[in-house]
Structures are given as C-alpha cells and as structure tokens.
C-alpha cells in the first residue's frame, strides 16, 4: 500500500514538472512584464525576478491612449458575436434535432465543412463585400464576420445536446397549450443550458482571439480589437520586450479568466465538437 502511494506521488511530481515546462512560456511572459527594464537583459536570465516593477504597465497606457479602447472593442465584438450566434444557433440546433424539416442534412454538412475553411478564404470575400456595403470599420461588420466562423461550430456542438433531450417534454408542453416557440423557450432552452454555456464560451473565445478579421476589417483605432492592437503595438515597440509582454499579458487575461471559470465546459465542447480554429 505504501509503495503504491509512493508511486502515485512520484507521478504527481512528474506531472508538476511537465506542466511547468509546458506552461513556462506563459510564466516567462508575465514575469518579463513585472521586471525592471534592466533586469530583462540580464545574463544569466533572472528566472525568479529580484525586483518587481509595475512601471511599464502605466507606460503602455501613456504611450498608447487607445489601449483601453481596444479592450472595449474586443468586449463588444466578443459579446455581440456570442449573442448573435446563440440567437441563431439555439433554435436551429433544436429544429434540426427534433423537428421534421427538410434540408437538415444539408445544414449540418455546410456547417461541418465550413469548419474546415481557411479563415483567409472567408476574410477575402467578406472584405470586398463589406467594403462595398460600408461595413468595414464597424462593430456590426466584425460581429457578422466572427459569427460566420462561430455559428457552424455552435450548431455542431448544440445539436447533440438537443438530441439527448426527450421529445416527449415538448409534446407534453404542446398538449398543455404551449406554442412551438413557447415550448422551446420554456422547456428546451433551460434543459440545454450546459450546451448553451459551452457554445457561448467557445464563441466568445473565437471573437476575442480572432486576428484575421481584426486585421482586415478595421483600419482605425476606434474599432480596432485587442489582437490587432497588439499586432500594431509589437510593430512599433519591436524590441521593448517589457511593454510587449505587459500588453500580451493584458490581452491574455480575459480569455484566461473565462477558461479558468468554465474549464469543464471547454473540455466538453472540445470533445463534442472536436474543433479548433
């Protein structure tokens, strides 16, 4: 018994070592942003910072006053994409799973195959179309483009969730006098909430992390999301690793917070949809 405990404890130690090695880049990013400028170029490198210096965090906002704006833009685009995607995907996934409708197979096929498109392939025509319609440099353009990426994924994730819910529940509600939409909203939606949360998390992450649409559909700081803002920032402050790492850390925090609070939904979504952008 004692031997078995020792063995499993050594597995834990090994696991800690492997995980630390794997996540080292993220640790290095954060502590680089916390070191004073001079300590960054120390040789040998300071793996555990001797002094913590927060000054660079303020400098980012002073040197580029648009940084808070980028975060606001990303939040608007991320949340807008999530709401639009769920509003379209939830009823559609329910309909595909439970209602007698023609063309279900086609919708699933289009969704599955569009997950395989290169994003650039969607960005090019959308750039041309949105330019003609005057939708570049607007929240609505970014939200529509990101929804085009997220909707197929949400359909693929949500359909199995609705399939597991018993059809009799809506039947009973219909007999009790509910309309089709009423039965969906009152009975099915609450039961499908784990699926909805999973889809919402993925959609938000797609929206926040997107770089291609952020680069192609925005030209001004007014609508530029964090990813494109960081891209521009790196271009200007090429070797100022201190502030590039601080900005990167900031850009990572919202998706990281979402992931850490909703970890089990992320794993569920990965395995049910088997999808990565």
């Amino acid at each position: 018994m004692r031997l078995r405990n020792l063995a499993s404890l050594s597995l834990s130690v090994l696991s800690v070592l492997m995980l630390s090695a794997f996540l080292f880049p993220i640790y290095w990013m954060v502590i680089t942003a916390l070191k004073p400028q001079r300590a960054i170029f120390a040789n040998p490198p300071e793996f555990i910072p001797r002094n913590i210096d927060w000054s660079v965090w303020g400098n980012i906002f002073i040197s580029n006053p648009d940084v808070p704006r980028y975060f606001l833009n990303s939040a608007i685009v991320g949340i807008g994409t999530t709401l639009l995607t769920l509003a379209l995907a939830a009823p559609a996934a329910y309909g595909i799973a439970h209602l007698p409708i023609r063309g279900k197979g086609l919708i699933i096929l289009v969704s599955l195959s569009s997950l395989m498109f290169p994003v650039v392939m969607l960005a090019t025509p959308l750039f041309v179309i949105f330019s003609r319609l005057g939708l570049t440099d607007s929240y609505i353009g970014l939200i529509l483009a990101n929804t085009a990426l997220a909707l197929p994924f949400a359909l693929v994730v949500l359909r199995p969730f609705f399939l597991t819910l018993p059809l009799q529940l809506t039947e009973a509600a219909r007999i009790d006098g509910c309309t089709a939409w009423g039965a969906f909203a009152r009975i099915m939606l609450p039961l499908a909430s784990p699926g909805l949360i999973t889809a919402a998390i993925f959609t938000f992450l797609f929206g926040w992390n997107d770089l291609v649409f952020a680069l192609t559909l925005t030209n001004t700081d007014q609508f530029r999301p964090v990813t494109a803002g960081l891209w521009t920032f790196i271009g200007v402050n090429n070797t100022d690793w201190n502030s590039v790492m601080a900005f990167s850390t900031l850009a990572m925090l919202p998706p990281l917070a979402v992931f850490l609070t909703a970890q089990r939904y992320v794993v569920a979504g990965l395995t049910s949809g088997a999808v990565k952008q």
């Binding site: 499993s8 404890l9 834990s12 696991s15 492997m18 995980l19 794997f22 996540l23 880049p25 993220i26 290095w28 990013m29 960054i40 040998p44 490198p45 379209l88 995907a89 009823p91 559609a92 329910y94 309909g95 007698p100 409708i101 023609r102 063309g103 919708i107 289009v110 969704s111 195959s113 569009s114 395989m116 498109f117 290169p118 994003v119 650039v120 392939m121 090019t124 003609r132 529509l144 085009a148 359909l155 219909r174 089709a180 770089l211 291609v212 192609t216 960081l230 790196i234 690793w241 790492m245 900005f247 990167s248 998706p255 990281l256 794993v267 990965l270 395995t271 088997a274 990565k276 952008q277």
Partner: protein, 317 residues
C-alpha cells in the same frame, strides 16, 4: 394518450411530396421552419455566398482599382497559371507540406504520450491535465509575441539554455535565419496543438471500458500487451479522427506564421494561407490570391470529405 401521440406524429411528419409543393409545405409548417431559417439564411449569405464569390474572383483580374465597382475583366485561368508558374508559391506549397507533416507528427505523438500519462489516477491528475488547455485558450498573437521573445537572437532564453547545455555555440536568430525559421515556427505550432490532441485522445482513452483491462490483467497480460491488444485497437477511431482534424487545422494555419515572421525571412516560412493573405491584403492582387485560396480549399475539402465519411461511419456504429 396513444391517440394523441398518433395525431401529433401525423401532424409533424410531412407526407412525401414533390418539390413543386415545397412552398405549400412551407406555408403549412412555417412554425417548424421558423426555427431553422434564420441560421440557414445566415449560412447562405455569410458562408456559401463568400465561397462562391471567391471562386468567381479567381477567374477575374480584380485589383485595388476595380475592387469596389465590380467591373473586373474575366481572365479565364490566367490567375491559376500565374501562381503555378510562381516559384514563391512552390516554396509556400512545399513549406505547407513540411509544416503540416512536422506539426501533426509531434502534436499527435506528444499528445498521445500525455493522454496516456494523464489517464492514470494520481493526486492532482484531473486538474493538472486541464491546465494544458491554457495554451489553446489564449490569443495566438499573444503566443506569437511570447515565442518571439523566447526565440530572440540576442537575449532569448532558448539560446541561453542551448548554450548552457553546449548544444549550440553562438546565438541563433531563430525567426530571422532562413535555415531555422520554419523549424522554429513548427515548434511554436506543436506547442499550440498539444493540448487539443491530448484532450481528444484522453476522451477516447476514457471511453475504453475499465473491465477490459481488469480481465486482461487476470489473464496475465503485461503492460505492453495491454496497450497493443486493448488500448491501441480501441483508440484507433479516435486517433484517426484526431489525425485528420490535425491535418485540416494545420493545413490552413495563418495566424501563427503571420504573427511571428509574416512569411519571412526570404519567404522561407510562407504557407499557402499567408502567401494568399499577402497577395490579397498587401499587394492587392485579389484574383491571384483567390486562386491560391481555392487550390488550398480543394485539398482541404478532400481531407474533410475523408473526415466526414469517417464521422458517418462512426455514428452508424
């Protein structure tokens, strides 16, 4: 109750009708279709139409001047001829193959090793394996920034480690030396892909009934035998699916390369997707870029069909 159920079924199962009565059916069952139509229209407008738009554009001479009014000349297969004769495109195509093969091979084998490891029960196993997914969650531009810093030629930590281990003698500028840049990018992409492979394979491993291992243990099978005769055969469908998904997702990678090297130095890290992006959004050669994307799409579509066919087979079982 039984009668009610029968009535309900009769109401909901459409009778077999020809296509000309589709509209009648739609009118009768508009409630059912109202659930699906908004999403279907969105997919049509923002996915199907753009793909066709791209296809059409690849046969036109679309440039910055005639982009907005739509009056570009039809040029037949000229765009395709141009790229097939372009040596940079050849290089990008070759890079895409190397990048995909290298990334998928290592993501898969490291992901499998980690999945097997974290399938064991030990204190902390559950929450530690979840934390690998952090790499998958954060924006790729952030990952790119961090690795640019780690790979930095003058003060990067990678050089420091390799030099202390006496593997290299002089500083290497990982992302700006033509010989090593593609390798460095593949390294970054492997790091990014490990959590995804690991999570999917772990789910596959957990689907294997535990009783099988117990029975094998009673029958005297050792660990390699248990792996060869239980784990591997039962994991094969998951391995196949993960491999195909890995190929698809790696083949279309754009962000990782664009955010680190933008295809440089001297086009040595250009993939088809990044070259198409540069052709379109930097050089404004929309027609030529669209043709590149269509070629990429044809290959992706082939692998996707294989994946979908496999998915169907899996669901039928």
């Amino acid at each position: 109750m039984k009668q009610l159920r029968r009535d309900y079924n009769a109401l909901n199962n459409p009778p077999k009708v020809g296509k000309n009565t589709f509209l009648k059916l739609l009118a009768k069952q508009w409630v059912n279709y109202s659930f699906v139509l908004p999403a279907a229209i969105f997919l049509l407008v923002f996915i199907a139409y753009p793909v066709l738009f791209n296809f059409r554009m690849s046969f036109q001479d679309v440039r910055a001047i005639n982009l907005l009014n739509g009056g570009a000349d039809w040029v037949g297969l000229t765009n395709y001829r141009t790229i097939l004769a372009n040596t940079v495109f050849h290089q990008a195509a070759r890079n895409t193959l190397i990048f995909t093969a290298g990334s998928v091979l290592f993501q898969l084998s490291i992901g499998l090793a980690l999945a097997l490891f974290y399938n064991l029960e030990f204190p902390g196993s559950r929450w530690m394996r979840g934390l690998y997914l952090i790499a998958w969650t954060i924006p790729i531009i952030v990952v790119a920034a961090v690795f640019r810093w780690l790979f930095d030629g003058q003060v990067g930590v990678f050089n420091y480690w390799l030099e202390s281990l006496r593997i290299i003698e002089d500083n290497i500028f990982w992302l700006s030396e033509p010989d090593v840049a593609l390798g460095a990018i593949i390294f970054i992409n492997i790091w990014l892909g490990i959590p995804f492979n690991m999570a999917l394979l772990l789910a596959g491993l957990q689907g294997i009934p535990h009783e099988l291992y117990e029975a094998a243990e009673i029958d005297g099978a050792n660990v390699p035998q248990r792996f060869a005769f239980i784990t591997f055969p039962l994991l094969r469908p998951a391995l196949f699916a993960v491999t195909l998904l890995g190929l698809i997702y790696t083949f279309k990678v754009f962000d990782v390369v664009w955010a680190t090297t933008q295809g440089g130095p001297f086009n040595t890290t250009h993939l088809v997707a990044t070259l198409a992006f540069r052709t379109i959004f930097v050089q404004f050669q929309f027609g030529t870029g669209a043709a590149m994307l269509n070629l990429l799409f044809v290959v992706l579509f082939g692998i996707s069909l294989l994946y979908l066919w496999n998915l169907r087979y899996e669901e039928a079982r």
